[in-house]
Symmetry: C2
Subunit: 898 residues, 2 copies
């Protein structure tokens, strides 16, 4: 079994393809060595050893020692130096390296090999005792902390760790000597401190700091393996959903030093600008410094070259001018790497005594705008093809262009109040209010407000609209607040469980902090964080971004899946069309019932005790609904519009206070007790599974008739005006073909009447929302009658799992943390369960009607993984909220390419 | 196309096998003719003509006339008489006849052929003008009502129908003449009345009564077809779930008269006693009477023979004595028919002038006890084999033997207050109370009580137990009240929507009737009827019924499916074992939590703010639960007991009044606001889809641990005592294999600890309730870990349909009436949808683990059609409430035989 892979410039055992074995860092070091780039020689111990380590009671395989020794031998041959030599010993770094970068989550030990035996020779060689003792004390501090304390499982009290103690000694020494910075210390100072450090270690940890170079090396290697299961690493993997089984590789590499003098330097660079995507070599460097100095921010780093200088950095020296030879070499390497990897690289380099060494390359992280620009630029430069360009941008990265975002600098410094579920991306600042009416009132007075609610209901919609953002204590990613906010592209955080609302006092309590009405807060809806105060925002406007438009056009060329939007109003429809929507996949009609003027008619219908009164109450809604539909059909002219008939249970329309009940009774002219009785009768224990969807239209056929008539009259009148409209009438919550037939008959009959009255032809279809397991299981029966299927995967997920999306908040976080669920099934489609039903329904439906039009209109329509699934199942379209349309367009293209 | 089938003694075109074409009556008339029995000749017009009639705008096929005419010709040849002849005309009856008997639901016209032309000849022939004119006025009344009014679609006001008017004329005539009964009228009287009748018909209906024999015949035939879609027939078909497409046949048959004098008679008989099953020829007869006289009850009928005489009928003449020759012939026919049909027959006969005619035979209806006795007797007599005997008894008929029933005579006369859903069969009388506490109090004072509630909750259980019966205004067939009542074999009616409860006043309002606390009511839970007052009951005790025991032993010999029971207490378990249960398929553990002493611990757990307090509160329940499990395992010694871990959401345990909240806070020693906060936090919008089932055990692992320990300690201690017990631990509401794994790990770990502590071996298994669509869809994954599956088809039906069984009452009746559903899917398994998931889960589960034990423990476990499905899907067992166990045993045997 080969465990150790050497990398020496010009010859490496591994390559970039071996990330699973060598980790990202090791694989790329091997790749650079194979490219003949100046990599300090070393070897990688494969991640298999990590697996072995944990499978075998934290021991290493026997054969490892021999392989490590021959790895060292190869380095010694290449460098012409010996590890542990009294004359001129090699020194090693030991670093972790998992398949994907886990920055700062695992341990590193540098300067391994400094012992009482090797130090004198190195002082002689470098003629720089201060450098050697500085390196030595760094080794001691790091080793004591990482190997002797953490890796040994010692858990000191806060502030009592060995590192803190050693730092204390350093401070004390500096105070005693009157030094202000570390650079004031001489070689002797460092030597004295090294001795003090070793004593303190013996005192605190009860062990001697090892004075043997091989013992140091093995200590470092084990500490890296040990850190794979450290708390930080475990937490990180949970958050990033990385498997525990991967393990980390260990990279042992010859130390090079950027801090040996003024001919030495160190730096980090990106082959292009990771913030803007501009094709300019971008980076920072310091003379006479170690890598950690650049990152730590203790010294202000210098700009890499002249062209990236800003007014702030204008007067700082660039590497281009200061070390032109090394810079020229670095530019060559940059070109080699970008051409070789065909992607932007994030590199680390060190210049030791004028000689350039490459310490790392990896594909660089970038923000959304930069990702798009680089992808389009590289395709135009022919570095990659367009397909690759399309695959380079994560669909979610488009979100950054579509929503205002928090200024990252401001966010870093802000006071985090609480976390919740990131229900609506983007950022917003505002003054808090606690009722929808207050939100509207304050907004009308010119205030920016954030609406805070326990949870929202359809009656809050006006306030939600008036608010910059919405924050709720309860609810999940598909709660009312989340759905409405996403539809509007509005920042929204839900399920903020730490927040308790005292509505009477107009206060929200988060732990010990009290937020009063009018207090400013800022929300980052992309990650679900709530901050105190007013933070700076970066506005968004994708249409000003040329490469965005190019990339989206490439995506549109590739994808076959159509992208529609879920929109209930002409404004939303127009916005979604601007984002590229090719129709409406879900126009809910219930919001239209909540309007002040209309809800009275709904309530009258509910209270009617005879068919005539019921009918006449319902028919009062006809002109309103017709107007709604004319608006939305006009906004989507030439494109299909799927209109779902009334879905929610009727009790949602008569949630009344005592006072409102009396008012309603008076205005309808019935006893208050009758209103109360009807409310009681309509009460349901599980409204989600209650009298809603087509069950309403079946019990109240006049509602279906009214809605059918409103849609068809709207379509007929627009057709008369010369417009081309395609209404698709969707029957919700069908569980049996008989339900569909019942409603279809009403709709077709009223539709034919209307078309006869207007003496006009309108293309319309009647289909159904497939959102119950039984509809999937009997899709063949339903497809005999339905002209289209639209999967309502929100409800389908609820019933398939038996999860109420309104109540899942009490255990979903626990489920995710404990890996009982790998993801929230309301965000990304559960392929194994819900997906199986979807596949079954597609197969059964198309078995009966091969050209059955099938789409998806649940929240999953905007989720890339779910879109991939839809493509694999040959759906015709996905439908998502307007702000997800660009995301879906790209995801659909990627699904096609995969 | 042959539409007309003749039947003439010794030769018939049809046979008993042709019920679909000829209807039950026609097919059996043909069969009797083929047996050379004395059937008045006639012909049957097939049900296909009915279909044609409705498919062709209510017209008859052209060829029918010719076929009818040749049918008449054949009769004329046989009888040597002519239809419409002036000398001695044949007279015909026209009767309906569907595939299954629809008694009284369709129309009949008798005495067809009496016209001004034929009457004189018939008077001459019979020398009995009174008989002829009586027959004529009967024809006129019937024809005017059935053919000229109803069939023509005329809908008179109540009490204004033509029949009523003619009856008025008759009354007037009798009054004028001082007659008291119809027998006082002379031939002249009837003649006069016939003329008056015809005038009134002309006046009222604007048409002449037809004086042509053929016109009368066709009128009668069409009226029968027309009556297939009469209101009564449609309603009957809906209730009995008969398809509209069947249509009715029409039987045209020579009239015979039992009312031509003292040598004439008419009667109905059963070849065995339909009430007891005794093998005695049983029937009633009258001299000088028509069939309707026997049925109408205007004259007291006589007993058929001497051996069936009762003290009441001791002095009445029997046919056996009065007309020994005819009786002897009838006994021969009885023997022929029973041997031929191998089943008890319900026959009608008429003796005209000493000559016996058979008018009908059909398989006779019988009650449950009789069905069982006949089946067993006939098998013992070798008339049928045992398999046939088993198929002869409808499983539901066993119910009559298991529950007390209302005395049918008393029920007929009682005042019906309301109808509800028949949730628990049997009958009960009692004084009404409105709270569980009152029920207990009154019972303790020696009163029989019926508990009336809006709906019941677990906190009502003690009162439900104390009551004779339970009546609720809300809820469906699987509501809490229904489940609990059925489990106890207690009479229960739920969803009695007409009833409104005023709890404060202790009153129930049903329409205008007010029931006050203490009022007597009587309930027939088998059909869902509520009566005023105290009615007589017939007690039940199946074990005294020898044939029942024999039949059940035959069933047990045949069936392969095991029958278990759903029982939560030792008493229920013992009772079910007495009924033949072979284990417990579902022992719910939540009822055990509601006990006064225990619920405090549950509430403490809910209020605990740290893991230690939570744990110690839960552990308080351990001794109680252990005692419970010891009881139930002992009751079921040597048989498997499936124990389901805690299932309901926690808020069910803290449904508290303001006062109780304060009390709880005080006794736990926390602020009242904390209790209120926890209650609010636990509130769920859709508790059915909420934090329940294994989701509880995952969030509160200490509950699973406590329950696992209680079960295993109970099992270990019983094993120590030398008992053999088989606990099967069932994890509820699993949707993902990870949930199962989480709980399984806790259970196995605690089980192994317990067994080690006791140093003993106990066979136990860990399995899961499959009650979510996702569990079915991923059953292969779950089966890798679970040792058994038990389908919880109640919840599976809820999620597959998206129906809440608590809320379905608002639309289920409408759905059933309008055939959107053919049956309540909570009563009988929905094969197409839910069944598909079950089949899928069985296939996936056994694909991974071929010997996986699979059962069903939903309410469907006691439903014969669902049991048939379970058998077809190779389930190992079904589990049902104790009182359904015998039903399930028989149904399982029948499933095996089918």
């Amino acid at each position: 079994m080969k465990y150790v892979y050497s990398f020496i410039s010009g010859q490496a055992d591994g390559s970039a393809k071996m990330k699973n074995t060598l980790g990202g860092k090791g694989a790329n070091l091997a790749e650079m060595a194979n490219l003949n780039l100046p990599v300090p020689p070393g070897f990688t111990i494969s991640a298999d050893v990590c697996t072995y380590y944990y499978d075998n009671n934290r021991t290493l395989p026997d054969v490892l020692e021999e392989q490590v020794l021959s790895g060292i031998k190869a380095i010694e041959n290449d460098m012409g130096k010996t590890f542990g030599s009294e004359e001129d010993s090699l020194l090693f770094s030991v670093r972790s390296g998992a398949r994907v970068s886990m920055p700062g989550m695992m341990e590193t030990v540098l300067n391994i090999g400094l012992t009482s035996k090797t130090i004198p020779g190195l002082i002689k060689q470098t003629n720089n005792p201060r450098f050697v003792y500085d390196a030595y004390r760094r080794l001691i501090m790091m080793y004591a902390d990482v190997v002797m304390e953490k890796s040994a499982g010692i858990e000191p009290e806060e502030g009592e760790g060995i590192r803190r103690k050693l730092e204390g000694l350093l401070e004390k020494h500096k105070d005693a000597k009157g030094y202000t910075t570390d650079t004031d210390l001489t070689g002797d100072d460092w030597k004295q401190l090294s001795d003090l450090f070793k004593k303190e270690i013996k005192n605190t940890l009860g062990q001697e700091f090892p004075d043997d170079h091989m013992e140091q090396l093995w200590g470092g290697i084990k500490a890296v393996f040990q850190s794979w299961n450290g708390t930080r690493a475990i937490n990180y993997r949970r958050i990033e959903k990385l498997p525990d089984e991967w393990g980390t590789a260990v990279n042992v590499q010859v130390m090079v030093f950027g801090n040996t003098g003024e001919e030495s330097a160190t730096g980090v660079a990106f082959t292009r600008n990771p913030a803007t995507g501009e094709n300019k070599f971008f980076g920072e460097w310091l003379t006479n410094a170690q890598g950690e100095d650049v990152v730590a921010g203790t010294r202000t780093p210098n700009p890499l070259n002249e062209e990236i200088k800003t007014p702030d950095t204008m007067n700082l020296p660039s590497l281009e001018i200061s070390m032109p030879e090394s810079y020229r070499q670095l530019v060559d390497i940059r070109n080699t790497l970008e051409k070789h990897y065909t992607d932007m690289q994030d590199i680390e380099f060190t210049i030791q005594d004028g000689r350039l060494w490459m310490l790392q390359t990896r594909t660089g992280k970038r923000n959304g705008a930069a990702a798009i620009k680089m992808a389009v630029d590289m395709a135009n430069e022919k570095l990659i093809d367009r397909k690759t360009a399309l695959m380079r941008v994560k669909p979610e990265q488009l979100d950054e262009l579509l929503h205002p975002n928090l200024d990252p600098d401001g966010e870093k410094k802000a006071t985090l109040l609480a976390k919740g579920l990131p229900a609506g991306p983007g950022a917003a600042s505002g003054r808090i209010v606690f009722t929808a009416d207050d939100a509207e009132k304050w907004r009308d007075q010119g205030e920016k407000v954030i609406l805070i609610r326990e949870e929202t209901s359809p009656e809050d919609v006006h306030g939600m609209h008036a608010a910059e953002a919405i924050l709720t204590a309860k609810g999940g990613m598909t709660s009312h607040a989340a759905l409405v906010a996403r539809g509007w592209g509005k920042c929204c955080i839900v399920g903020c469980g730490a927040m308790h609302i005292d509505l009477k006092k107009r206060e929200a309590h988060i732990h010990n902090i009290v937020l009063k009405e009018g207090d400013w807060i800022t929300m980052n809806g992309t990650v679900g964080k709530v901050y105190a105060g007013q933070l700076g925002l970066i506005p968004a406007d994708p249409e000003t971004h040329d490469e965005y438009k190019i990339l989206m056009s490439w995506a549109d060329d590739v994808r076959l899946l159509k992208i529609r939007t879920n929109a209930d109003s002409p404004n939303d429809a127009i916005q979604a069309r601007g984002f590229g929507a090719e129709g409406i996949g879900l126009c809910r009609t219930e919001h239209m019932f909540f309007d002040e003027e209309r809800i009275m008619a709904v309530r009258k219908m509910i209270l009617a005790d005879n068919p005539e009164d019921k009918r006449s109450a319902v028919m009062e809604l006809l002109p309103y609904q017709k107007k709604d539909f004319k608006g939305i059909l006009t906004a989507m002219e030439t494109l299909p519009v799927t209109i779902r008939l009334l879905d929610p249970p009727l009790h949602e329309f008569i949630t009344l206070t005592e006072e409102q009940t009396a008012e309603l009774a008076a205005s309808v002219g019935v006893e208050k007790s009758l209103v109360e009785k009807r409310i009681a009768e309509l009460h349901e224990l599980n409204p989600m599974l209650g009298h809603r969807g087509c069950r309403l239209g079946i019990a109240y056929p006049e509602i279906t008739e009214m809605q059918g008539r409103a849609i068809m009259e709207a379509a007929a009148e627009l057709t008369q005006e010369g417009k081309t409209v395609y209404p698709e009438i969707m029957i919700p919550l069908v569980g049996t073909v008989t339900e569909f037939q019942n409603q279809e008959k009403i709709i077709r009959s009223v539709a034919e009447s209307v078309l006869a009255e207007y003496d006009i032809k309108v293309e319309y279809t009647v289909g159904t929302m497939i959102e119950l397991p039984r509809a999937c299981l009997t899709a063949d029966e339903i497809a005999e009658y339905a002209e289209f299927f639209s999967f309502g995967t929100n409800d389908l997920t609820q019933t398939t799992y038996g999860f109420s999306r309104d109540d899942i908040g009490s255990f979903l976080p626990y489920y995710l943390e404990n890996k009982i669920l790998t993801h929230d099934p309301f965000q990304s489609l559960d392929i194994k369960g819900v997906g199986k039903l979807v596949s079954m329904a597609v197969e059964l439906g198309r078995g009966v009607k091969p050209n059955l039009k099938i789409g998806i209109c649940g929240e999953h329509g905007g989720d890339p993984a779910s879109i991939q699934f839809c493509k694999e199942n040959n759906l015709d379209y996905v439908s998502c909220s307007p702000y997800r349309v660009p995301v879906a367009r790209l995801a659909a293209a990627q699904a096609e390419l995969q």
